[in-house]
């Protein structure tokens, strides 16, 4: 499971990471009961401050998406909060709009974009 | 001004002044100025040989400057920087070598040829000393001076006569020239990567491997043979160790030792000071009864040595302040830091002064036993009292002037430190007067140190 953050973007790392976790939960890549990497491992992996990761975990726990079991680790909560899926898709649409705009600027046609996305999908499917 | 030689020559004054940075420069000039002042009553060679010591320092300045030029990568990178920077230093040295004997000859009635030979010899050794920081390079001129110290003895006559014979003088000059060229070659090949690249003296300093730090000390304690030896060599420390059963880092004495261990070795200072004062000693020996009839004057070299070495020790501490000051953040109280620092300066000063004095006395005893008796008289007591006052004063003035960061002013501190000594030599003071004067100077010195601490050291820590 690969998370990626762009520290130099205008979006805070906490937001980037929490969106990614939410998206994975919404998309089914993370299922209820799945264990997330420890704060330390996640921070080392992303080369970001552990406080940042901790804050993300805490926030998502407060939202009910994650569950912190004391002395054990952080897990995806048994039941996903209602409405989570819809907001996620909303977010994804926003991201897609941004990508499409960029593609148009680069002169890519709809087919080109679709092809590029299809290429990206394949390895994930396997 | 299109002429490249002229262009190079025109930078000399500027380069001369930039070379004065290490405070050796003003020192040299002031030494030259002070010496005739001192010896205005005594004529002839006394002045000349005293001046030679100043010139030796000047040679040191030139070499130091050359070394800085060689090592200054900025100078190589900046557009318009001189292409042959060493040439400037070379020209400076040549001017000095040609002009100084003439100057001395003009002022005093010394014969030109032997004077030139001696100046060249001293210059070569000073050059080598600054370039390579090898104290061995000072041995030859020192031997020369101490041999000559034997008063009216046949040896001195022979040495003087030898130097005055043209063939020997010329060969001495040739030898010195070769020596200078060798030092110059060392210098020109020096890069920043060279181990001896530190500007002055620092290469002398070696980390004391056996007692390098507390860790090492603890190691020593685990080795019974060495522990016994240490108990013999450093009984106070041994007793403290046994009494407290604590790690070596816990008591003031060992912390002092640790300060010491990171401190610069005193060889560099000692050699430099000996080089300066040896001719003075010779001068004094040659005139035991001066016109003014002041017996203290015969102790002048020793007094100068005392005060100079004190000033140098203090100067080194002040110059290393940036390195030392961050140690205030290591666990320990502020007061402890300053107390330990003060104690270390005091111990270093005492050790350096005593060491140099003993070395000088031993050398004198070996070479010229006749000049020892005046050292053991009541004047000795006066000398020590005055020198102690002068030392505190010199430390204060060194540290105080350093805060101005004006090299020329910093360089002035040494002659100023000698002030009490000059004053002393000008009067036939009694013991209470001497004590009073010394105490007065010490108080001023302490005041200066305090003021420097308040205004400079406190605000510029780290």
């Amino acid at each position: 499971m690969l998370f990626r953050v762009e520290p130099t973007s205008g979006t805070p790392i906490t937001r980037q990471l929490s969106e990614q976790i939410r998206a994975r939960c919404a998309g089914g890549q993370l299922r209820p009961g799945d264990r997330l990497p420890s704060v330390r491992a996640m921070a080392a992996d992303l080369a970001v401050n552990q406080n940042t990761v901790l804050r993300v975990y805490e926030r998502l726990t407060a939202e009910g998406l994650l569950e912190r079991r004391h002395g054990d680790g952080t897990y995806v909560a048994g039941r996903l909060p209602a409405g989570g899926m819809r907001s996620q898709k909303e977010y994804l649409k926003q991201e897609l709009r941004r990508l499409v705009e960029q593609g148009q600027m680069l002169g890519m046609s709809l087919e080109d974009m679709q092809q590029a996305m299809a290429d990206l999908y394949e390895p994930e499917e396997s | 001004m299109r002429n490249p030689a002229l262009a190079v020559a025109s930078t000399i004054p500027q380069r001369l002044f930039s070379g004065l940075r290490p405070a050796l420069g003003p020192l040299a000039f002031l030494m030259m100025g002070v010496n005739p002042l001192l010896n205005s009553q005594s004529h002839g060679q006394h002045f000349n040989y005293g001046a030679i010591s100043g010139f030796a320092l000047f040679a040191g300045v030139v070499a130091f400057h050359a070394k800085q030029v060689v090592l200054d990568t900025k100078g190589r990178l900046l557009p318009g920087a001189p292409r042959i920077p060493l040439a400037v230093a070379g020209i400076m040295l040549l001017i000095y070598l040609a002009a100084m004997p003439l100057l001395v000859h003009a002022v005093g009635p010394a014969p030109l040829l032997p004077l030139t030979a001696v100046i060249w010899l001293v210059t070569a050794s000073a050059l080598h000393f600054v370039v390579r920081s090898s104290w061995l390079s000072a041995v030859l001129p020192l031997l020369f001076f101490f041999t000559a110290l034997k008063g009216d003895s046949a040896l001195q006559m022979r040495v003087t006569a030898a130097v005055e014979t043209p063939p020997i003088a010329w060969s001495l000059i040739a030898f010195s020239s070769a020596w200078m060229m060798y030092a110059g070659r060392l210098l020109s090949r020096m890069t920043e990567e060279s181990p001896g690249y530190q500007p002055i003296g620092l290469r002398q300093a070696r980390w004391n491997r056996s007692l390098g730090s507390t860790g090492e000390v603890n190691q020593v304690w685990r080795d019974p043979t060495r522990a016994r030896w240490l108990a013999f060599a450093a009984p106070a420390e041994h007793r403290l160790q046994r009494a407290t059963h604590r790690g070596a880092s816990d008591n003031l004495w060992t912390r002092c030792r640790r300060w010491r261990s990171v401190n610069q070795r005193p060889y560099a200072i000692a050699v430099m000071v000996l080089l300066i004062s040896a001719p003075n000693l010779w001068m004094t020996r040659n005139s035991p009864r001066l016109p003014g009839g002041l017996p203290q004057l015969s102790l002048m070299p020793l007094l100068t040595l005392f005060a100079l070495i004190g000033a140098f020790t203090g100067l080194i501490y002040a110059q290393q302040w940036q390195i030392r000051s961050t140690d205030i953040l290591k666990p320990g109280r502020r007061e402890d830091f300053f107390r330990e620092m003060g104690l270390c300066v005091a111990i270093d000063m005492a050790r350096n002064v005593l060491g140099a004095a003993v070395l000088l006395a031993v050398l004198t005893a070996l070479v010229a036993p006749a000049s020892l008796p005046p050292l053991c008289s009541r004047h000795m007591l006066l000398a020590v009292i005055m020198a102690s006052g002068g030392m505190v004063f010199s430390l204060g003035s060194v540290v105080w002037f350093l805060r101005l960061r004006l090299p020329v002013v910093v360089g002035m501190c040494t002659p100023i430190a000698q002030l009490p000594l000059f004053m002393m030599s000008a009067t036939t003071a009694s013991l209470p007067t001497a004590l009073l004067v010394a105490a007065g100077f010490a108080v001023i010195g302490l005041g200066l140190t305090y003021d420097a601490y308040r205004r400079w050291l406190v605000t510029d820590l780290g």
Binding site: R15 | Q198, S213, E216, R333, T459
Partner: protein, 237 residues
Amino acid sequence: MTDDVIVAAGVEKRFGRTEVLRGVDLTVPRGSVVGLLGTNGAGKTTLIKCMVGLLRVAGGQCRILGDDAWSLSPETKARIGYVPQVISFFPWMRVRDLVRYTASFYPNWNEELCGRLIRDWEIPADQRAGTLSVGQTQKVAIVLAVAHEPDVLILDEPAAALDPLARRQFLQLIIDIAGPGQRTILFSTHLTADLERVADRVAVLKSGQVTWSGLLEDLKEQTHLNLEESFLEMHHA
């Protein structure tokens, strides 16, 4: 109050007639990693020196771990690690001697950590300090500042001279040391990219005053700019 490790309240500092700090207010909560940003000459180094007690403040107060910065107790000093901007060592001391010398001051020196860092960073332990490169010197200074596992680590431009690899290693080290909310780290820098990774709080020093301080994410949420852009924005406004 007890949760603020470093507190600067109305700190003023003058050098002669030049006013460098004009009433700096800054608190660093326990466990945070704070990046101190500022243009050249904004007073970062001066502020940091005031905070560790290398400079005496002209007005206001600096407290660190509850102690007044000017009169830190030995116990507090043992809990502070500091890397100055200009690092100077005795040039004739070898790196291993420097380590031994420094270690002898600290009761809580972690020899294992120190040795590991020296190995990982490929610091030549037998070389004399005077022959080290600027980057190597900086590495040594960092090792010496962290090997006693301080609770508070204060670094003045720590990564300026490090190569990209060493910088990444250094950032990892900072992340490692900081832990989740365990140690407090304050570092000044003008490399905003480093700061964005490692810092969770930012303080911006501008002409002797802290003009903005708070969570980095709050800044980004407010401005939607990255740190460099907001920094430039703050200085153009």
